[in-house]
């Protein structure tokens, strides 16, 4: 099977047709897959702040990938353990809970950075340019406000967990440690939207995030 692979790959593995195999860009445009690598992100912030921002972007990207891979490894190990070795892993659920919190809260900041949060833009798109810009500033600022408020309250939530001193039943990890990402994630997301507000105020175009322009890219290009 493997010796015919190189040829297979070149033709898209098709015996009948090879045209129109969707490109990664088409998939990304559809939101079906996403190739926003952290290395592709360049911070707008000046000097050392920019380095820190780039570093955080890489860290978020790393946490996302690691979270999903660990979750996959953990879930797969549990299935293999249960069906092939007759023994399920006791702490699988707890590990997955920790990981889903990590993925969600590292991810919302990463998604804000790349302008990937879902929006309903139907009415927004119909507005004239000046109004869109003004509205985008309001949206980014208000969103930042909500995120900072949630960061504040989830900090309180984490401190409550800390004071109760509860631990996860089988892993024996303190519960508060598993929710550290919540205030951090909300805060970083708020920061992204705040930066987006500033970017929209000082730059001429309309920005979804500090590095992503609003609108559909290259829509005049024919397929």
């Amino acid at each position: 099977m493997s010796e015919q692979q190189p040829e297979d790959r070149k033709t898209g593995g098709a015996s009948l047709s090879t045209e129109g195999v969707p490109s990664a860009e088409a998939l990304a445009a559809a939101g079906a897959i996403d190739d926003v690598a952290p290395s592709a992100y360049r911070s707008d912030l000046p000097g050392p702040l920019g380095w820190i921002d780039n570093g955080i972007a890489r860290l978020e990207g790393f946490l996302l990938a690691a979270g999903v891979l660990l979750m996959a490894g953990n879930s797969v190990a549990n299935v293999i353990g249960r069906y092939f070795l007759g023994q399920s892993i006791q702490f699988t659920e707890e590990v997955n809970q920790i990981l889903i919190i990590l993925i969600t809260f590292a991810g919302i900041s990463y998604a804000a950075r790349h302008g990937r949060h879902i929006r309903m833009t139907a009415f927004f798109d119909m507005m004239p340019g000046r109004m869109r810009k003004l509205l985008m500033i309001v949206i980014a600022l208000v969103t930042a406000g909500f995120m900072f408020a949630l960061a504040w309250y989830s900090w309180g939530f984490m401190m409550t967990q800390l004071s109760r001193g509860r631990v996860l039943p089988s892993l024996q990890i303190p519960v508060w440690m598993t929710v550290v990402w919540v205030p951090v994630g909300f805060f970083m997301t708020g920061l992204q939207y705040l930066l987006t507000t500033i970017k929209n105020i000082i730059a001429p175009d309309i920005y979804l995030s500090t590095s992503v322009l609003e609108g559909y890219a290259d829509d005049e290009q024919e397929v």
Binding site: M71, R82, S154
Partner: protein
Amino acid sequence: MAVTILSIMIILLCLGFPMMIPLIAAAGVGFYTMFGGFGQMETMIQQFMAGIRPAALIAVPMFIFAADIMTRGQSAQRLIDLVMSFVGHKRGGLAISTAAACTMFGAVSGSTQATVVAIGGPLRPRMLDAGYKDSFTLALIINASDIAFLIPPSIGMIIYGVISNTSIAELFIAGIGPGLLILLLFSIYCWIYAVRMGVPTEPVTPWPDRMRAVARALWPMGFPVIIIGGIYGGIFSPTEAAAACVLYALILEMIVFRTIDLKTLVATARSTGLITAVVFILVGAGAAFSWVISFAQVPQEVLGAIGIDEMGPIGVLFVISIAFFIGCMFVDPIVVILVLVPIFAPVVDAVGLDPVHVGTIIVLQVAIGSATPPFGCDIFTAIAVFKRPYADVVRGTPPFILILLSVSVLLIFFPQIALFLRDLAFR
């Protein structure tokens, strides 16, 4: 209170805020008015966390990951080749193949948008070459992709199952019947269209080539075997089936086909993580929202106003269908499920409807709404992928939407379309 919460939500949504904000704002206002201040905001965070914690939700990122791996590989093309070699030479064969390939790809991926790209991408140019009109082709692609939402795995069904406390395994099995019925009706329409427009047929594929196509498609066909067979046979829970799918996809694309290297795997994991985060933040906000509205008895207030108590089961199902259909014409399906399911939950209970039946109807409505003008999200996927103007994409959709709506009416009056397989497997 109900009026304030719902109008805040709708206004923020229409202004184009990221969708988590309308949910968070509505929940926050609810907590503020109910407890007379910001004293209980930590409870809101607690509900938020309770929303993303259920173990069954782990199936969502795992199915997304498996599908993400497969979408980068060759499975879509192999499935297309399989269907083409068997029905390609019939009248309307190319169109029927497109619908069938969408259905089969639905067993690999739970996302309608990924299906538009993976199946519609390669098949649209061939349908145009064969003489189908572009308006028909585009409408077929976006509407047939909806079948993917009904065929397990289905992200919509997992989320509905978790928030309504319904068996996800039963929902998965119940989605198959309506999915296949839609495929059948679409195929009949494609055939009629091809006869009327005199679209020429494709050459017949000789049997040796057919056997080769079958052999090549065997690998991707392992997905339905794992998911449907595993759940039907009582071997896997949906979450375990999702993990098994990840393992299977990894073996397939990394070891057998070698289409994915380690670097691509990491990029795939990152992309899955991003999609997961965007969905889960909504799920968390939705959980806080749903807690506050049921605490404040908003559902009773809203539904009492339209007199739902006198309607009986059929009436309730019609109201649910219409509400979800309209919701999805404007907003992302997952948000609609998160907002509307808790509103309707008490009445579904009160009238004694089968939650699996209701879930199937809801997922079907959500799928239809996603392909319905003015703002169904699949339409915008098609605009982005195929680079066609809005008017071209929506022109051919009415006949398909008519078919889909008649299926939903049938499903309301004949629950067995969905529940037959479920009863066979679980009762």
